[in-house]
């Protein structure tokens, strides 16, 4: 399988305040694969997505590292086909434009479709993402739809770009549980159907477990562990990953262990602890942990962690 996306030593900063939001992360994504990014709020998951899609907000800049796509090697500077969907679909849709305008202009931009062709394709896409009476919905505005329907519209819009990579930043966080399940199912189907790669962000390991092939655990702007999803869930090596898994509520009635909260709180980016950023909250911490940040090292097959004292398998 060919590598679609390679991120090397990515550093993202807020220049005005001289804080590093993303501090030297590495990962790669094969075409057709799904990578899950997981971590507590503020660890830099969204910024990683924005950096990959080259849409960092004002006042935030990539100051180091590289983001390269497969075509760059052969096809020169062809723009990679990336589409993105967001956590809050309703506010990510322009309130003054109809769903039809939104989809048809995207179909024109990405596929050159116009007029009746664009309209028919828009209807087909809406049907594909599970919106009934699709033809009559083209004249609707986002405020007339529920959050779940708007997320479907965003997905339809993403499909219009025929992306090689779909970035989904917490696509189900704002939705209720049944809607979450439907959207995840839809993403699974579309992935299989189109062969696109998926980068999915969630603070919910359950979502990651369901969709991703590999997962990367982020903490304070660093990837602290990456592994195939099943391996990560069964044999987390980094104490933070382990703690994240332990504080997941289980729905298994056999599992009587109550969820264990992680002690302490996430440090602020402008006052990160020296060494391993997790050491003030880590039960395994030793002296060296507070001296230098641990380099990433293999702890298993395709399994790496940045920790001096990884949890044994």
């Amino acid at each position: 399988m060919s590598t679609l996306l390679t991120v090397r030593d990515l550093v993202v900063e807020v220049p005005a305040r001289n804080i590093k939001i993303i501090d030297g992360i590495n990962f790669s994504l094969d075409s057709g694969q799904t990578l899950g990014l997981v971590g507590e709020s503020g660890c830099g998951k969204s910024m990683t997505c924005y950096a990959v899609a080259d849409m960092l907000p004002r006042g935030i800049a990539r100051i180091g590292g590289s983001v390269t796509f497969e075509q760059d090697a052969g096809g020169g500077r062809a723009t990679p086909k990336i589409a993105m969907i967001f956590q809050d679909p309703t506010s990510s849709l322009n309130p003054v434009h109809t769903i039809g305008y939104y989809l048809e202009t995207a179909l024109y931009r990405h596929q050159g479709l116009k007029g009746m062709d664009a309209r028919m394709e828009a209807v087909r896409l809406l049907e594909r993402v599970g919106i009934d009476r699709a033809a009559s919905r083209l004249r609707a505005y986002p405020h007339q739809f529920s959050g779940g329907m708007n997320q479907r519209v965003m997905i339809a819009h993403a499909l219009a770009a025929k992306p090689q990579l779909l970035i989904a930043d917490e696509p189900t966080t704002a939705l209720d549980v049944t809607m979450q399940a439907q959207i995840l199912h839809l993403l699974e189907e579309l992935k299989a159907e189109t062969g696109m790669a998926l980068m999915i962000v969630s603070h919910d390991l359950g979502v990651i477990a369901r969709l991703a092939d590999r997962a990367a655990v982020m903490y304070c702007g660093k990837i602290v562990e990456t592994a195939p999803v099943a391996e990560l869930l069964q044999r987390p090596a980094h104490p933070y990953a382990r703690a994240l898994i332990d504080c997941m509520p289980s729905i298994d009635p056999q599992d009587l262990d109550p969820p264990v909260p992680i002690p302490g709180s996430v440090p602020l980016l402008d006052s990160l602890p020296e060494g391993c950023h997790f050491h003030p909250r880590c039960l395994r911490a030793s002296v060296e942990c507070s001296a230098h940040f641990p380099a990433s090292a293999a702890v298993g097959l395709a399994h790496e962690a940045s920790c001096y004292h990884p949890v044994a398998a």
């Binding site: 849409m55 993105m84 967001f86 990510s92 322009n94 309130p95 003054v96």
Partner: protein, 305 residues
Amino acid sequence: MTAFILARFLRAIAVLVFTVTLVFIVLRLTGDPAQQMLSDNAGPEALAAFNEKWGLDRSIPEQYLYYVVNALRGDFGVSFADGREVFTVVAERIPKTLVVTVSAFILSLLIGIPAGILAAVRRETALDKSVMAGAVLGYSVPNFLLGLVFIFVFAVWLRVLPSSGSSTWNHAVLPVATFALFNAAAIARFMRSTLIDVLGQPYIAAARADGIPYWDVILRHALPNAAIPMVTTIGFVAGGLLGGSALIEPVFAWPGLGSGFVNATNTGDLPVVQAMIVLFTAFMVAINFSVDVLYAVLNPKIRKH
């Protein structure tokens, strides 16, 4: 949307009736027109005769009824000052005021909107800072003072434009400029802040992520959203035009409604003052109503309920 517009229309009528009534009562209660119009040493008989002639000796409700019935027929009475029909006295000043206010209004839109857009798009650059410095200056200097400065510079010092009167087009230049600059400043400031606000919305980030060209994002995605709150501000500016004419016209001795209103107030010409206030109110109400309608037309959340 029809229900919305109908409701706003009825509200406009109600506001008009309420204001006309209030103004009528307040004007009757503040000061005796006979005292003001006649000389100080007029005897009681003269005052009584004046009051009887103009129906001022009747009760306020009676006067009000009379006034409303006549006003609905287009009869606003006769000027105390020169005995001419109020309707004529007011109507002949309208074109003069329209020339200044409408040109100033259009000019302020033509300057203010692009300036605000550029300032927002080139945020925190020298361009933005100079536009905003100009806007703050234009907005914080009272407009009659700006008028006096203009007179000093262009009429007294450079001697390129006349300072007062209305006999040639050149006479309109300074009043229009004064008016337009003040309003353009207000519009530019609001345009900038509204657009900056819209540009920070998630749907703009999403549009840019989708690879839509920058100016397309500004023109087709951001501006239609910014237009909704802008309508209110522009309506505000439009509504202030007649009131502003009372401040600016006297500075340039421009014989429009504003000067007329100031004169009539000074001389206590009650019927003229009253008719002008009714006209100003009707104008305000009409502007507000248009703002409501435009707001609904531009905003799908109201249009498609």
